[in-house]
C-alpha cells in the first residue's frame, strides 16, 4: 500500500510518476494554499494513507520567524485534525486514519 505524499516540494518531487504514489504536482502558478488544502482533504475524505516525504522535525514543521507552522506542518495538522495518527510520524512512514489503522495495516 502506498500513499499520498506530503512534504516539501523538493522531497515530494522524487515520487512524481511512481506507481502507487500520489503527489500534488501542480505548476507553481496554479498552486495556492486553498488548492493544497483541497488536495489533502480529498485524500482524507477517502481515508487514503499519507506518507511524509520530508522528515518531520521542529525546523521543518514550524516557521519560527513567522510564528506559525510551515506549509508542511500545516499539512500534518490537517491530518491530525481529521483523525489521522501522526504521533511520532517519520519520513517515509504511512499515516492512516484512526489510531487502530497502523496495527490493522501492519505498519
Amino acid at each position: 500500500m502506498y500513499g499520498k505524499q506530503l512534504g516539501k516540494q523538493a522531497d515530494t518531487a522524487a515520487y512524481i510518476g511512481k506507481p502507487g504514489f500520489n503527489v500534488l504536482n501542480l505548476p507553481k502558478e496554479e498552486w495556492s494554499m486553498a488548492n493544497n488544502d483541497a488536495w489533502v482533504q480529498g485524500g482524507m475524505d477517502r481515508g487514503a494513507p499519507f506518507m511524509p516525504a520530508s522528515e518531520p522535525n521542529p525546523s521543518s514543521v514550524f516557521n519560527l520567524s513567522r510564528g506559525e507552522l510551515s506549509v508542511f506542518g500545516r499539512e500534518l495538522r490537517q491530518l491530525f485534525n481529521g483523525g489521522y495518527d501522526i504521533q511520532g510520524a517519520q519520513q517515509g512512514e504511512l499515516l492512516g486514519p484512526g489510531q487502530d489503522w497502523a496495527a490493522a495495516s501492519g505498519q
Binding site: K8, P27, K28, E29, M33, N63, L64, S65, G67, V71
Partner: protein, 198 residues
C-alpha cells in the same frame, strides 16, 4: 534605514563585500537580543538593516558574481525562513510607506533564498508583495520581471515570471492563508489564524 536611496550609486559590490554583509546578517540572526516571530517585530530592526545591506548589495554585484554567490554561502532552513519573512515584512512596508521602493528588496530576498527549502513558502510571500503593489495601484509585473532578470534562468526567477500566468483568484492573499490587520505600527500582513490554526 536605507531610505529610498538604492545602491546603484555604490558601484560594483565585490564577493568579499557580499560575504561580509552575509556574515553581518548571520551575526544579527544569532543575536541574543533578537526576538521571534520576526514577522511581528516593529520595523526596522537590526536584522532588517543587515538584510537591507544584503539585498541591495546583491543588486550591485557583477552578473557573474551574482550567479555564483548565493550557492557559496552557508545556508540553513532558518536562513530560508528569515529571508522570506523579511520579504513579507517588505510587503507590509510597501503598504505603510505608500511606495513600492521596498518591493524590490522583498523580491531580491526571494531570489537569494532561491527556493532552497520549499517553493510553496516563496509563492506565499510573493503573493503578498504582488498584492501590496496592486493595493497602491501599481502594476507589479514589470517590477517582478526586472528582479527576475537579475537571475534569469534560475527557478526562483522563473517563479516571478509565472505570476503573470496566475488566475485572479490565485493572486489573493486569502488564497494563501493571509490577511491584513492593524498593529501598533499600522497595517501589516499576517497569517490568518483561522486558516493556520484550524
Amino acid at each position: 534605514m536605507g531610505g529610498g536611496v538604492r545602491t546603484m550609486s555604490e558601484g560594483i559590490v565585490s564577493l568579499v563585500d557580499m560575504n561580509e554583509r552575509w556574515e553581518s546578517y548571520k551575526a544579527e540572526a544569532d543575536s541574543a537580543g533578537r526576538h521571534d516571530p520576526y514577522l511581528l517585530e516593529p520595523f526596522p530592526t537590526p536584522l532588517d538593516e543587515a538584510l537591507y545591506s544584503v539585498v541591495t548589495g546583491f543588486q550591485s554585484m557583477a552578473d557573474s558574481d551574482r550567479r555564483s554567490w548565493p550557492g557559496s554561502i552557508p545556508f540553513s532552513i532558518r536562513d530560508s525562513q528569515i529571508l522570506l519573512t523579511y520579504a513579507a515584512r517588505m510587503a507590509t512596508q510597501v503598504l505603510r510607506e505608500g511606495s513600492t521602493s521596498r518591493l524590490t528588496d522583498g523580491l531580491v530576498a526571494h531570489l537569494i533564498e532561491g527556493e532552497r527549502d520549499d517553493w510553496r513558502e516563496n509563492v506565499i510571500v510573493l503573493t503578498l508583495l504582488f498584492d501590496a503593489a496592486r493595493k497602491l495601484g501599481v502594476d507589479p509585473l514589470p517590477i517582478f520581471d526586472h528582479v527576475a532578470s537579475l537571475a534569469a534562468g534560475d527557478a526562483a526567477a522563473e517563479t516571478l515570471g509565472g505570476f503573470r500566468k496566475r488566475k485572479p483568484e490565485m493572486l489573493t492573499i486569502e488564497s494563501m492563508g493571509y490577511r491584513t490587520a492593524m498593529s501598533a505600527q499600522g497595517v501589516r500582513y499576517e497569517p490568518d489564524p483561522a486558516v493556520w490554526r484550524q
